[in-house]
C-alpha cells in the first residue's frame, strides 16, 4: 500500500466517529444509566444506586424471564442449525444457475424485514390458515389448533428469521472442503455416513461456530417476533425491556435489565466457545 498513515486515518475518521459517537458512547451511557435513581417527573433521577440490580437479582420473576429467554434462544439456535445444515450442504454442491436460484431463495428472507416475515407466519398459523387446513386435509389433526400467540410459533418464526445467518457461514466452510478429502476417505473404505461423520462435519465446524454464536446473540435479543407472535401470555427479556422504556419510562431499570441480559448472553457465548475451542482449533486449516 502506498497510502500515508495520515491519509489512512483521515479516511477512517468518519466511520470511526459514526461507530464511536452513535454506538460506543450510547452503550457506555446506558451502563451509566442503569445506576441512576428512578426519577419522579423525568425518566431518571440525579443520584446513583445499585437498587435496580438488586431488585432484578432478588426477584424470582426476572430470573424466570431471563431463563426463558436464554433457553428459548438455545432451542432456536439448535433448531436453526438442524434446519440450516442440510440447506448449506445442498447449496455448497450447487453450481451455475441453480446456485444463483438457491442463493436467491435463501437471501430473500434475509432481505425481507422481520416484521413482514412474522406477519406472514400470522397468516399461515391462523385458525383457518393454510397450516391448519393442510394438517386437517392430511388427517393429522381433526380440529384446527390454536397456533397463534404460542411459544412454539415464536420459536418457529425465530428459526425462520435466523436461517440465513446460519446457512451462509456453514456454506462457506463446506465449500472450502476439497472434494479430494471425501474421495480419499471413501477410497480408504468409509461409507457415506462415515465420510460425513469423520470428515465433513468436523471440517465444517469453523462455519458452525460463528453461525451458532451469531444466531444465539440475535435470538436472545429478538424483540419483534415475541412481541407480535407471542401475545401477552409469555414475557421475554426484550419485550420486558422495551415495555419499561416506552411504557412506564423506567429508563434506569430498563437499562439494568438490558445489561443483565447482555451479560448473561456473553457468559453463554464464552462458555460455548471454550467448550468447542478444541473442535475449532483443529479444523481451522
Amino acid at each position: 500500500m502506498i497510502r500515508s498513515k495520515k491519509l489512512t486515518w483521515a479516511l477512517a475518521l468518519p466511520a470511526l466517529a459514526l461507530i464511536f459517537v452513535f454506538m460506543i458512547l450510547p452503550i457506555t451511557n446506558m451502563v451509566e444509566m442503569s445506576f441512576r435513581t428512578p426519577g419522579s417527573s423525568e425518566p431518571f433521577g440525579e443520584d446513583y444506586t445499585w437498587m435496580h440490580y438488586t431488585r432484578i437479582l432478588g426477584d424470582g420473576y426476572y430470573w424466570g424471564v431471563l431463563r426463558r429467554s436464554l433457553y428459548t434462544a438455545g432451542i432456536v439456535t439448535l433448531l436453526c442449525l438442524v434446519v440450516s445444515y442440510p440447506i448449506a450442504w445442498h447449496l455448497s454442491r450447487a453450481k451455475g444457475f441453480k446456485a444463483v436460484f438457491l442463493y436467491a431463495c435463501i437471501a430473500s428472507p434475509l432481505m425481507t424485514g422481520v416484521l413482514v416475515r412474522n406477519f406472514g407466519w400470522m397468516i399461515v398459523a391462523a385458525l383457518n390458515g393454510p397450516l391448519n387446513e393442510s394438517l386437517i386435509a392430511l388427517g393429522i389433526i381433526e380440529r384446527p389448533l390454536r397456533l397463534l400467540f404460542t411459544q412454539s410459533l415464536v420459536i418457529l418464526a425465530l428459526v425462520h428469521v435466523f436461517v440465513p445467518f446460519m446457512v451462509l457461514p456453514i456454506n462457506n466452510a463446506l465449500r472450502n472442503i476439497p472434494q479430494s478429502l471425501t474421495e480419499a476417505s471413501a477410497s480408504m473404505g468409509a461409507s457415506r455416513y462415515q465420510v460425513f461423520r469423520d470428515i465433513i462435519l468436523p471440517l465444517s465446524f469453523p462455519g458452525i461456530q460463528p453461525g451458532v454464536i451469531l444466531v444465539y446473540v440475535l435470538a436472545v435479543a429478538a424483540y419483534v417476533t415475541p412481541a407480535l407472535l407471542g401475545g401477552q401470555m409469555v414475557s421475554y427479556m426484550p419485550t420486558l425491556i422495551i415495555g419499561e422504556l416506552t411504557g412506564t419510562f423506567q429508563w434506569p431499570f430498563g437499562s439494568a435489565l438490558a445489561i443483565v441480559l447482555s451479560f448473561s448472553t456473553v457468559l453463554v457465548v464464552v462458555l460455548f466457545t471454550r467448550l468447542t475451542w478444541k473442535l475449532n482449533e483443529r479444523a481451522r486449516a
Binding site: S180, E183, A184, S185, A186, S187, M188, D198, L203, R282
Partner: protein
Amino acid sequence: MTTVEVKNLRKSYDDFLALDGVSLTAETGQLVTLLGPSGCGKSTTLRCLAGFHEPNGGDILVDGESILNVPSNRRKFGVVFQNYALFPHMTVAENIGYGLRLQKRSKGEIETRVFDVMKLVRLTGLEDRLPREISGGQQQRVALARALVLKPRLLLLDEPLANLDARLRDEVRWLIRDLQQQSGITAFYVTHDQSEAMAMSDMVAVMKAGRVAQFATPREIYQKPSERYVADFTGEANFLTAQRVQPVAEGRYSVHVAGADIEVEGVPGLLKNAAAELLLRPESLTLVTTGDTATFEGEVIKCAFLGASLHCEIALPEGGRLKLTAPPNHEVGAGDRVGIAIDLSHAWLMPEVAP
C-alpha cells in the same frame, strides 16, 4: 496379487468426450504410467479406476472381474492425490490409521501397523503433528503411508510429485518405486513428466485426446514410438521427411533421406512409397569431420555450450534441421560446415500421419 484390464473405456461430460475408448492392462506388480498433457484423459482414467467417476462405456476388470458396480469405498484401492488430501483435522498418525479405524481394528494393531509403515516411509517421530505442521515432502509421504497401510489391491497415484520441488521430487520418486516393488503392489501412476514416467514405469501409456496413442515399455516408447506425437512427448526429437520408402523385411525399410540412401527399422506395415518420417534422437547423431564416415553434411546454425555438453542445431542443404548433442570439447561455431554420422540402429521410421 492383482491384474487389471481396462477395456475400451469411454467417458463423456456434457459435450466433452474425455475418454474415447481407452484400453490398458497391468500385470501383477507392474507400475503402469499414464503419460500425457493436461486434458488428455489420464486423470479421468485414474478416477474411473478409483470409482470417483462412472464411465459411460467399456469395462474395468480386476483379477478378471468387473468392478464397475463396486462403490469406491469397497474397492480396496489405495489412492494418493496430487494435493495429498490429508485430513487437516487429524494428526499424522490419525490420518494413517484412519482406514484401519474404519475396519474396526484393535487399538494395538492400528498402533503397530501405523508405526511400521511410518518407519518404512521414514516419518517416525511425527505421529502427533498436524498436516499443516509438516513439510510438503513429509505430507507426500504421509499420503503414501496412508494408502499403503491398508495393503491395497491396487495403488493409484495422481501426479503425486507435482507439488514438490525438484530435489524432493527425485527422492520421493525412488521411495515410491522402491516401496511399490518391495510390496509387489500393482500400481497406476499419472504424470505429465516424461522423465518421471521413463524412470519409474514398467509400462507407459502415452495418452492423446482421450485415447491411448501407444502402450509399451519406456524403452519402446522412446526408441520405437508409434507416431510423431509420442516421439515428441517423450523427449527431444529430429524428424526428416523420408522418400522412396521400400520395405525390405518385416519392420525394415530402405529410404532416401536428405540426399542419402539408408536402411532403417520402423513401424511395421508401412507400404511402398508411404508418406513417412525418420526419427533421429539427438544422442544417435555424432558430429564428425566431413568425409566418408558422415551420412549428412550441413552448416551449423547455432551452438550452445552447456558445460557437460554442446547443443548444436545444423541446417541440411536439402532442407530440414537437426539438433544434436556433442561432447563439450568440440570446437564448432555458427557457420562451420560439419559432417554428421548416424547410428542407424537407433533411427526409426514412422508414418507421417498417425494411424
